[in-house]
Amino acid sequence: MLRGVRFPDDKDFSGCSIFGMMNVKGDIFTGEPLIRAIANMKERSNGLGGGFAGYGIYPDMADLFCFHMMYDDDGARQQVEEYLASNFSVEGAEIIPTRPCEGVADPPLLWRYFLDPRPGLVPEESGVDDFVVRVVMHINASMDGAFVFSSGKNMGVFKGVGYPEDIGTFFQVDEYPGYIWVAHGRFPTNTQGWWGGAHPFNILDWSVVHNGEISSYGINRRYLEMYGYNCTLQTDTEVLAYAVDLLIRRHGLSIEEMSLVLAAPLWTDIEREKPPRRELLTALRQTYGSLLMNGPFSIIVANLNQMIGLTDRIRLRPLVAGESGPIRYISSEEAPMHLIDDGVTKTWIPRGGEPIVAELETRAKGKAAAGVKAAKTCMEEVGIS
């Protein structure tokens, strides 16, 4: 775990900004327009956190897991590197290139590694993804001064303390081409800047950016604990990411069904439905009532194939969708889309609880690793340390 001042219940009591952009044909663009878009929503962040996730950014290393690491000092780095080397064949290790930027102070040491799990070490039954999750959870929970903030294939998260546009400039996201980019500007009210606490929250190739406070956090967390998810970061966003993993990867629900759980329809609306659908909705709500995300939120969830936007069921946080040719946008506000793209022809505001899904027309930009399995892959038994 990265050191620094943190408070328990590091919840996002914030009215953050979120922005997502995807080319459904899989054509690539850099993170540069995202920097401008997120800067245009400056009111929504307070300089205590910003971040980006880009998909398709490491095409030459697409078969390898890429870990982005934060270290407090060189000692922590050596320790983690030894641990990594004992679990993976390390195909690349380098300092993440950054450029000095006025708004970004005191960054931790930032490194990235391209990793191939050592075959003998991966238990057959659980598979390689679970193995990687265990490693990530171990480092984050138990290794002093170290934090894995990105662990997918052919994707990467860049985040830290500062305004998001400064963080983007610092990490040079304008120099990485990808086909999905998401960005987040944060307005935390109860935390001093802690680099690990910025969004996106990532595990394997799932990343989540989130605006809002989840009033049901206490029960969401206790429910997930029953399924072996140990919410170590104590953030709402973490709970969301685990809920998505449980519902989609482990229970095999579709994205629509998942949104019917996270932002369940009202009972009065359920009763208006015809029988088979009514029964389905009733059963979903009865079964997964403890995963209803109550309180204001809007989120963008991304993986190698999809970008999904969702708000709470009474839409207490804003979310706008837009289209421009093959480009799909999901944003807290509409203006930034027009700022970066004159060709935005269609914009709409989804209803509360209605998911917006943008999907690659031809899957598997991430080659071998991509496809449904990888997209549905995340973490298991997160409680281990």
Partner: protein, 503 residues
């Protein structure tokens, strides 16, 4: 033998106000008041007064004040007047001390040491008058995961869902048996439950056939005496409840004296008129958890697997582990009844000294079921001392799916918690079979008072939820983050699984 008992209550009559209407004379079944025509004066025998406040409430000129007898022995924390009176009583009769209602001792009431959260700035509170605010609750086993087949319009749930009870407010009426209370009391409860979209519970006294029409809102109990249990009874229920124990008297059975077993009660309970109805302490076919499981499945089988089966136990030291056993034995609902739970009659020493507070039992059971990963498999209902909507909200935040109210419901119909239910002379027409007294409770009015009470509580629950920025009750259930303790020790906080205020 000369009795050394002092009157428990003293009554002041303001003779200036008294108009000699004799209402008090007629209303007091304990014959405390009488009128002397020659003197044109009212007189009192306070030794018979139980403090039920019936006369004071109905006196048209408010001439009466009934209050605790302030008489006192020299101050003594150990040998209080209550202790002395109990000893005199037993020295005079050689009997077991009897009482009614729930434990009245000064154990900590944890509801009053917990406070609720509300939204400020960072997330909006919700106004329940303008926005939807959902209290609906389903009780019953839930699957761990849902399997869905088909696409689009053909989508169907593949998982077999267990039967559920649908509650429009997470409050039900506790088991109160016909026999312990009057028929009118049962009818008031049944009608109010039907109107409010919740359930009432027959207790162990069977179900009068006139109440079969409320079957969709009736939970029928199967207790150790098996009184009134037959095929039609099981049919006339929305759910079945096996009563193992009761918070007011854990570990002991029940006793309805023969004089209360009228023709109607004899028919309903299926016992001869005038005989004592004795409920054994244990079920004599349940000496272990496997035996319980057999009864659970026997009842499921007998009710064609369409009704949830509930198991009610008294909250005792290891009720968390027992609750886990009950869930594994196949129960759809586990009911925990705390030390403050009411009764028609119980030995005073048992009522006041056996069992644990419901708040601790609930927290421990919910934590245990979650740690074992089986919390989905059954709903948890708590009973025993729920007094207000705030208690309900706190219970749900601690982890309950719903609450049972017994005493609060009776109070809604007029009960003044005089604790003399076992005498059969309830002046409020509740705990009595005397037709003259029983007709004091008009079921039209009883039902209306109860629906009013539930409506008031449901508005208050909605306000508290909205204040927390939550618009569905399931988002509060088990959400202990929204609770804080005030003035509790670290140990108490740990058991309750909450933080201290300010943390």
């Amino acid at each position: 033998m000369k009795s050394y008992l002092l009157p428990e209550f003293v009554i002041d009559r303001d003779d200036f106000r008294c108009i000699r209407c004799e209402v008090c004379v007629r209303q007091c079944a304990n014959d405390v008041h009488w009128y002397d025509e020659e003197d044109d004066a009212c007189y009192l025998d306070e030794t018979k007064c139980v403090g039920c406040q019936r006369c004071a409430t109905l006196c048209p000129t408010s001439a009466l004040t009934v209050r605790r007898n302030p008489a006192s022995n020299p101050d003594n924390a150990n040998w209080t007047m209550d202790v002395l009176m109990n000893i005199y009583k037993q020295a005079e009769t050689g009997g077991v001390l009897l009482t009614g209602m729930g434990c009245d001792r000064d154990y900590p009431i944890y509801w009053d040491r917990m406070v609720l959260d509300a939204s400020q700035v960072t997330n909006p509170s919700i106004d329940p008058l303008r926005e939807p605010m959902e209290l609906r609750t389903y009780l019953g086993a839930k699957p761990d995961a849902l399997e869905i087949k088909g696409e689009g319009a053909n989508q169907r749930v593949k998982t077999r869902m267990a039967p559920q009870l649908k509650l429009e407010i997470p409050v039900m009426f506790s088991a109160i048996s016909y026999g312990a209370v009057s028929f009118n009391t049962c009818e008031s409860l049944a009608r109010a439950a039907t109107e409010a979209g919740t359930y009432w519970n027959t207790g162990e006294g069977g179900l009068h056939s006139k109440l079969y029409k409320y079957k969709d809102h009736t939970i029928c109990q199967v207790a150790s005496g098996r009184f009134g249990v037959h095929a039609d009874y099981l049919e006339a229920a929305a759910a079945l409840e096996i009563k193992i124990g009761q918070g007011a008297k854990p570990g002991i059975g029940g006793h309805l004296p023969g004089e209360k077993v009228s023709a109607e009660i004899s028919r309903t309970r299926m016992i001869p008129k005038g005989t004592d109805a004795l409920s054994p302490a244990p079920h004599h076919d349940i000496y272990s958890i496997e035996d319980l499981s057999q009864l659970i499945y026997a009842l499921k089988e007998a009710s064609h697997w369409v009704k949830p089966v509930s198991v009610k136990i008294a909250a005792v030291h290891n009720s968390a582990a027992i609750a886990s056993g009950i869930v594994r034995a196949g129960a759809d609902i586990v009911v925990l009844d705390g030390i403050r739970g009411g009764t028609g009659a119980a030995p005073t020493m048992i009522r006041d000294n056996v069992g644990i507070p419901i708040e601790l039992a609930l927290a421990a059971a919910d934590t245990r079921l979650r740690a074992e990963g089986i919390r989905n498999r059954a709903s948890v209902v708590v009973a025993g001392g729920i007094r207000s909507s705030a208690d309900v909200v706190k219970a749900i935040a601690l982890g309950a799916d719903a609450c049972y109210i017994g005493t609060a419901a009776l109070v809604g119909m007029g009960c003044h918690v005089c604790q003399k239910c076992y005498t059969g002379k309830c002046n409020w027409g509740i705990a009595t079979q005397d037709p003259y007294l029983a007709k004091r409770l008009n079921p039209d009015i009883g039902a209306r008072r109860l629906t009013n009470l539930l409506r008031g509580w449901s508005h208050e629950i909605q306000e508290m939820l909205g204040g927390m920025g939550i618009n569905a009750i399931e988002s509060l259930r088990g959400n202990r983050q929204r609770l804080r303790g005030v003035g509790l020790s670290r140990e108490e906080l740990d058991i309750l699984g909450i933080k201290h205020a300010g943390e």
